[in-house]
């Protein structure tokens, strides 16, 4: 079996998941210049809700073809409500406060969501019900499962939809205008509050999709899965150039590939000193390196240091 190709494929799948989450960070950052710390937790909520609904529906004998979309719909509804609520309660009142204030509330919200999820769902892992029979295909000496293909297709469709929304619709134009200059957009008749709420709605819906896909990818959902995932996705967004939508896609895919190649080869590279359990440090190393040497990211044009 071709190890390199296999790692590349795994990396791309993982990367498409990171990219979905990274989009949520980048959209909010583009418009509010706020690191929406709670976004990772919204993904977690999406995963937990979709898994719970899926378990309940399949237990009730609902066919998979119906249960999956229903679970996704439930996750989208819960995530959107959560996301809008968070924006309304924790971010909107602080829109003109010093920069650190909304960042601290974002951390607070993230802790609250995580602990509420723990109290609601308990500490144990929820396992994704085996609704899809796993089939493995051989491709050029590597293997791909049907679930992986499904993830890739759904992620690609979602991102395509987002690009259309942002570039081709009225709402998308309003979003881009608000991102460029909130005050002037307001003067041009854009209802800034509605645009920001819409951004959170779209971002949270993406998070719900990501949550379902991630739960199916790992086979489990857990109340503290969101945090590290959120950090990695944020790193991906920074790598691509935060505030830049194609950048988030590129950054997510790159991070996925780097992580899976890194985890595969770190043992050989360091003579066995560091093993594959160091996988998690790559995201942070990339984050620190990118911010140090190219704070605007790969595709970003903005200068990061706007104080």
């Amino acid at each position: 079996m071709d190890v390199l190709l296999q790692q590349l494929i795994n990396g791309l799948i993982l990367g498409s998941l990171y990219a979905l989450v990274a989009l949520g960070y980048t959209m909010v950052y583009g418009i509010l210049e706020l690191i929406n710390f709670a976004h990772g937790e919204i993904v977690m909520v999406g995963a937990m809700v979709s898994v719970s609904v899926l378990v309940a529906l399949t237990a009730a004998g609902v066919p998979v073809a119906l249960a999956l979309p229903l679970a996704l719909a439930a996750a989208v509804v819960v995530c959107v409500v959560t996301g809008v609520l968070v924006e309304r309660v924790a971010y909107r009142p602080l829109r003109n406060a010093p920069r650190l204030a909304p960042l601290i509330t974002a951390i607070g919200v993230s802790i609250v969501l995580q602990n509420l999820a723990m109290i609601f769902w308990g500490r144990q892992y929820l396992s994704f019900p085996p609704v899809i029979e796993v089939q493995v295909y051989a491709v050029l000496g590597a293997t791909v499962s049907n679930i992986q293909i499904l993830i890739l297709v759904v992620a690609a469709l979602t991102m395509g939809g987002l690009l259309l929304l942002v570039n081709r619709t009225r709402l998308g134009r309003a979003m881009r205008a608000t991102a460029q200059n909130r005050e002037v957009a307001g003067l041009m008749g854009v209802d800034v509050n509605r645009v920001i709420a819409a951004t959170f709605i779209v971002g949270s819906a993406l998070a719900a999709v990501a949550g379902l896909l991630i739960a199916s990818y790992y086979g489990i959902a857990h109340y503290n899965m969101g945090f590290i995932l959120g950090l990695k996705a944020f790193s991906a967004a920074v790598l691509g150039g935060i505030g830049n939508i194609p950048g988030a896609l590129l950054g997510g895919l790159l991070l996925g590939v780097i992580e899976s190649l890194g985890a595969g080869y770190i043992g050989d590279l360091t003579g066995g000193f560091l093993g594959s359990h160091y996988q998690d440090i790559f995201a942070f190393l990339i984050l620190i390196l990118v911010l140090t040497f190219r704070p605007s990211g790969l595709l970003g044009e903005r200068v990061a240091d706007r104080a």
């Binding site: 706020l34 690191i35 309660v89 924790a90 009142p93 602080l94 406060a97 010093p98 920069r99 650190l100 204030a101 909304p102 960042l103 601290i104 509330t105 951390i107 607070g108 919200v109 993230s110 802790i111 609250v112 995580q114 602990n115 509420l116 723990m118 109290i119 945090f227 590290i228 950090l231 944020f234 790193s235 920074v238 066995g272 000193f273 560091l274 093993g275 359990h277 160091y278 998690d280 440090i281 995201a283 942070f284 190393l285 984050l287 620190i288 911010l291 140090t292 704070p295 990061a304 240091d305 706007r306 104080a307």
Partner: protein
């Protein structure tokens, strides 16, 4: 105890000395009062409160004085703790003396602070927060995994049987009789931590009012203006970072010796966030406020223990595990404080005025002091 009482009282020397004396007696008697009232466990909690006061004051230098959000503060705490743990435990059979290792550990933590700060302090505030957070996670991942191929940190099990603090050949964990009073381990640690806390408070106050402290405040308020005034912003920010890290390392060494055991679990991001909560809740940049925040937040989880029985009584069962409630309340507190009282519970007068210039009380105070000045 400067700043703990209204300024007016200091003008009368006798009142100041009397207050100081009362406070000193109170602080010395405190562990005995606490033990009599609440039991021995609360003396240990008191020790931890002191430890957190030191840590919070260290983080306050970075967040409160210089306005740099550091979300990986616990990394420096971990460095200090593991430095002591590795060199004074059966892990490598090394048992170097505490009083040599403690300053060295603080120094190493300081070095880590400089290493992290040098490349990242050019970044804007929120990026810095994320980078420090990532750094904290990297340190924790290393602590968790550095048990192979060479066992340095003993991985997730952590390092056990760490040497206690020794004072003149006496291990502080063992009870001792002094002047006919039985002094137990937690009591002895209380006095040690109290002494060091006072030193840290003194250092923090001196730093705040020094030339560097004023430079930090200037950077916090407006970095561009500060630079225009001739402040070398990068170096001064780096100094704040290094100084905070030093205090973190100091706290870590004390923690390792006091606890006798360290594991990566003690150095999670939530720990960083808890220390940040202490600073934010108490009042960023205001030393008495930060002390209050640290003491309150150390006591809170312990007080929450009583929530379990209370639920039992009210609704007949324990619906929510009190331990789970702790972090939830921290999160809620962070949000509420930022929304309704961004200056903290006990803010510095200057900060409070900045955030609420129309507060009639403060306007009056300001006019009074102007009147004083005119006379």
């Amino acid at each position: 105890m400067i700043g703990l009482l209204p300024d007016r009282l200091y003008r009368d020397r006798r009142i100041a000395w009397a207050a100081f004396g009362v406070l000193a007696v109170l602080l010395i008697a405190l562990p005995f009062l606490v033990e009599a009232g609440l039991g021995r466990t609360w003396v240990r909690i008191l020790d931890f409160a002191m430890l957190y006061v030191m840590l919070a004051l260290g983080l306050n230098i970075v967040v409160g004085f210089a306005g740099l959000l550091d979300l990986g503060y616990v990394a420096f705490y971990a460095v200090g703790a593991y430095f002591y743990a590795i060199l004074a435990s059966p892990q490598f059979g090394l048992h170097l003396p505490f009083w040599v290792l403690l300053p060295m550990g603080a120094g190493i933590a300081c070095l880590f602070g400089v290493l992290l700060g040098a490349p990242t302090l050019r970044l804007r505030g929120d990026y810095l927060a994320i980078v420090t957070l990532g750094f904290g996670e990297i340190i924790r991942i290393f602590l968790n995994n550095l048990n192979a191929p060479v066992n340095v940190t003993n991985g997730p099990q952590g390092i056990n049987m760490i040497d206690p603090v020794r004072l003149g050949g006496h291990a502080l964990t063992r009870p001792i009789e002094l002047f006919g009073v039985q002094i137990s381990g937690p009591h002895a640690h209380y006095y040690l931590f109290l002494g060091l806390t006072l030193l840290v408070i003194f250092a923090a106050i001196r730093l705040q009012h020094s030339r560097i402290g004023r430079a930090w405040a200037a950077i916090r308020e407006d970095e561009v203006a500060a630079e225009a005034m001739g402040i070398h912003t990068r170096n001064v920010k780096l100094l704040a970072f290094a100084m905070g890290a030093t205090f973190g390392g100091l706290g870590g060494g004390l923690f390792a010796a006091f606890q006798g055991f360290v594991s990566p679990e003690s150095f999670t991001l939530m720990e960083s966030i808890m220390i940040l909560c202490m600073v934010v809740l108490g009042g960023m940049g205001h030393i008495p406020g930060v002390i209050l925040g640290a003491v309150l937040l150390t006591m809170l989880p312990e007080a929450l223990r009583y929530v379990g029985p209370l639920q039992q009584e009210l609704i007949g069962r324990v619906a929510v595990d009190p331990a789970d409630l702790r972090m939830l309340l921290f999160g809620v507190a962070l949000v509420l404080v930022m929304l309704f009282r961004p200056q903290g519970l006990w803010p510095s007068p200057v900060r409070a005025r900045e955030l609420h210039p129309d507060n009639p009380d403060q306007v009056r105070q300001e006019q009074e002091s102007l009147y004083d000045a005119e006379r």
